[in-house]
């Protein structure tokens, strides 16, 4: 019966897994095309030279990180209202992906800053608020890892996920609120705008990064689901063994 149950569950889960797998394969040529656009198609920027091409990966990473933290907040509100484990898993997965992407934003920003500003790091408003944002969501993940009572850990993390999201608009508008070294937005309303080929390359990079996020997110959620189920099964097995003795 156990084997039948396992087979039935595997079969029912196969179509989303197959769709996500296909997305993963489709991403490979898109990534190659993205690199072609960034390195060969987009024109060289006049003042910064080739270092400016870091922009095509740095900004999409930041936008996806914002999206992740936004989803953490929405899923956390939904979790506190419904106490559904699905919302909690979505929040956990997005927090982890958001931290990973923010880490890369900080690293690429630092590598970009060195040739342009002459320093790897400066306590500029945008950089500092990005670092604070990173610390908030690393704390979120630590809270999840170290909580002895899972339900309580999920509740506290949900509150942190909601409060932490306040950091996203502060980070986004930091270049307008304070005088900073970091450039203001070049895409979006009120921005200085990008040249046609540069804008196309940027939007394509954003699309690739979004698809990558859509590939990673379900995989991360499945991993959390399996970890939760394993924990439950281990508990059940221990109970069965204890009952048998």
């Amino acid at each position: 019966m156990g084997t039948t149950m396992v087979r039935a569950q595997s079969a029912s889960a196969s179509w989303p897994e197959r769709a996500v797998g296909l997305l993963g394969w489709a991403l490979l040529p898109l990534m190659v095309l993205d690199l072609y656009l960034i390195f060969l198609y987009a024109p060289r920027e006049l003042t910064q030279g080739d270092a400016q091409r870091v922009f095509y990966i740095h900004v999409p990473l930041a936008w996806i990180a914002y999206l992740c933290f936004g989803i953490v907040a929405v899923a956390s509100i939904a979790y506190l209202r419904t106490r559904s484990a699905a919302w909690d898993r979505l929040a956990r997965a997005c927090a982890e992906i958001g931290v990973a992407f923010t880490t890369l934003v900080l690293i690429t920003g630092s590598i970009w800053g060195k040739p342009i500003w002459g320093t790897w790091w400066t306590w500029d408003a945008r950089l500092t608020t990005t670092l604070i944002l990173w610390f908030i969501y690393v704390s979120y993940l630590m809270l999840r890892s170290y909580a002895t009572d899972e339900a309580r850990g999920a509740r506290y993390a949900a509150v942190l996920g909601i409060v932490g999201a306040i950091g996203v608009p502060i980070n986004y508008f930091s270049v307008q609120l304070w005088r900073t070294l970091h450039p203001t937005a070049v895409v979006g309303p009120g921005s200085s705008g990008l040249e046609g080929a540069m804008l196309f390359t940027f939007l394509f990079s954003l699309l690739v990064m979004t698809l990558l996020f859509l590939y990673v997110l379900p995989n991360r959620i499945w991993l959390i689901e399996i970890q939760d189920e394993l924990r439950g099964l281990r508990r059940a097995l221990l109970e069965e063994v204890a009952r048998a003795q």
Partner: protein, 53 residues
């Protein structure tokens, strides 16, 4: 105008190696835990079967 190609390649190398590593790590963990889950489900079913049978 500076070319700064070293910085450019460093930034892209870090990002793609990190993202590729994360995806590989995730897939590996998923495969391993799915096997563990299958084995554990069968063990629980066997334990329950022994108790009822």
């Amino acid at each position: 105008m500076p070319n700064n190609l070293g910085f450019l390649f460093a930034a892209f190398a870090v990002v793609w190696v990190a993202l590729f590593g994360y995806v590989v790590l995730l897939s590996g963990q998923l495969r391993q835990l799915r096997q563990e889950l299958r084995a554990l489900r069968e063990a629980v079913e066997r334990a329950r079967g022994r108790e009822t049978g």
